[in-house]
Symmetry: C2
């Protein structure tokens, strides 16, 4: 097991990464205010891991309230959020009750947001069960839900007490979702860690084969990169926006196709290629660098062809994104592998060229 401490101004918390963590209540107990938890999970994850977690906690004398939600990005909305509130109130959960998110990014975002807002804030613990949530949504305190007019439009910054990244859960993860998570892993190399990008190129086959050591290392380095960025910019006023590489494009794809049709990580992967394409057109990335990016994303079995929506529709959707400052779209682009920048100083015509292509 590896341990990473996320340092934040007012609060810090540990991330444990390794095998058989879900059955180990000793990791959780020191973080409970009292022995009363609500485990929020979904219909896919519950049959796999809910009993293991519940039994471990109940054996330690913890009262467990299970809250099982429908599975999917389509349910990351206010109706599902209300199901959590209803269950918490019906079970008279109090300020000392800890919410545990057992699932992927949707469960983590929903549960974190419920924890941030129930009784104006109760403690919560993240047990991410997908690669994407292990390397992304479990670090940084972003919680929230979607709105019919846009993704993650409603939310709060709220930090967990603890994150358990149990890599055994990746054994039951569909291959497509594993690949989607790899898009975020690769992102960390691209934005600020060229050495990690090199390491990924060398280890991509081991990673795709779920080699224990390689996976643990990739999650650790991804979380470390994200934690470093977040520690310096908790509320996304500056540098943290680098983490949105591929996301402004990706959110437009998700929004246009309907949530859940493209997986978030898949949309980010295609968006990352769009950012690389524009960066190349601006003369910031070399042809060789773009080929390396494409090859690594391809080896991770990610779809690279963004849907052909037309430049106008893309621009319209991208303006809805939060990365707009005073009406002008700011983008995360590449100056090199390992060096991203946040900029609105690009050629608008070249952006249209990138957006006009269905395939990069």
């Amino acid at each position: 097991m590896q341990t990473l401490k996320v340092e934040l101004a007012n609060r810090s918390y540990p991330i444990y990464i390794g095998r058989s963590l879900i059955s180990n209540a000793d990791l959780i107990l020191p973080h409970l205010k009292r022995k009363h938890v609500a485990i929020v999970t979904n219909t896919t994850v519950a049959p796999l891991y809910l009993e293991t977690l519940s039994n471990a906690l109940q054996s330690a004398g913890v009262k467990v309230i299970p809250i099982i939600l429908p599975d999917g990005e389509a349910y990351k909305n206010s109706e599902t959020l209300n199901l959590i509130y209803d269950a918490l109130l019906q079970n008279r959960c109090e300020r000392s009750t800890t919410l545990i998110a057992l699932g992927g990014g949707v469960i983590g975002d929903l549960t974190g947001y419920a924890a941030a807002t129930y009784l104006r804030g109760v403690p919560f613990i993240q047990i991410p069960t997908t690669l994407l949530s292990q390397v992304d949504s479990s670090v940084g305190g972003k919680t929230g839900i979607n709105h019919p007019l846009g993704k993650n439009m409603i939310g709060a910054f709220y930090q967990p007490q603890l994150v358990l990244a149990d890599i055994d859960t990746l054994q039951t993860l569909p291959a497509r979702e594993f690949s989607a998570g790899m898009a975020e892993v690769i992102k960390y190399g691209l934005i600020r860690d060229a050495e990690f990008f090199d390491w990924l190129e060398v280890h991509i086959e081991q990673l795709m084969a779920l080699d224990e050591q390689a996976i643990t290392e990739a999650i650790y380095r991804s979380c470390k990169n994200k934690a470093d960025v977040v520690a310096r910019d908790e509320h996304e006023t500056g540098e943290r926006a680098l983490l949105n590489l591929g996301h402004t494009f990706g959110h437009a794809i998700e929004n246009a196709m309907g949530y859940g049709v493209w997986l978030h990580g898949e949309a980010v992967g295609a968006g990352t290629m769009m950012a690389a394409d524009l960066s190349q057109r601006m003369g910031w990335l070399t042809d060789t660098e773009v080929v390396r990016i494409r090859q690594l994303l391809t080896a991770a079995k990610l779809p690279l062809d963004a849907p052909k929506l037309g430049a106008e529709k893309y621009l319209n959707l991208m303006q809805l994104d939060k990365k707009v400052a005073d009406g002008k779209i700011r983008l995360v682009l590449q100056q090199a592998i390992g060096k991203s920048v946040i900029t609105s100083d690009y050629d608008a015509e070249k952006l249209k060229e990138t957006l006009s292509l269905s395939s990069m």
Copy 2:
């Protein structure tokens, strides 16, 4: 105009108290990130003050988006909250857009919560137009909505940039609502400021006649008391719970009768008498003190007779309240005028006696 600075660990903000503040855009302009605001108000307040505020801001070059909600505590819910989100998204409001709450406590709580959660947080300004919201909900950062199973169950701690308490708005406030606000004013004297309680006994007639100097002073001293408490305990882990004098009883009344039947301040007033009654039964308040409390609340034209629900129903409703620690109801009771305590160390039988009476 009087100015009170609310000092908080990470952020401070000013409260301006006086006449003709709504038409004075110069007070607001320095607090805007950019000249783009959404004014959230309701169908009652909009015809009275929306044009004045909008004109003042527009003359200064500020783009104004009005959001007019139905009026009443019954609308402090997730449906109305969604109306705000919808309008913000339809008008492409960004992180630099400031939300302005123009109205009473419901508008302040809803708007503050929308500000706390829209795009994970945008700035907001409070312009409270009722006495209750001027002395209570505009200080302390509590925002939120009701749930069918309980009041204020969903929310966030979120501080405004600025509060404008324009006392001209009290001229158009129904007498019943003014009295409801007086219940909270009197509360500050009771919990921690015996001298203020004495001052209120002397000035109650001037206050009920809306004398400018007396009103300004009463609001200032109420906000000062609240700000002092909140500054020491922003997230209500200790002393701040004193501000809930009368509220655990009061919430039970509101909940049982249906939100909006009793005004919040009226329920707090009756709840304050219940707390005084129990304190007297415990031998903590003298008969004379109870008479003084009753006389001041009566002079403020508040209803003092709590509905006769029966002790069991009261206990059940009170257990739903957030002031429950490990299942045991903690109450704010009086040890003297000007000295409240938070305690679960009272005689449960005496509490039942208090709850069994319809009239104190």
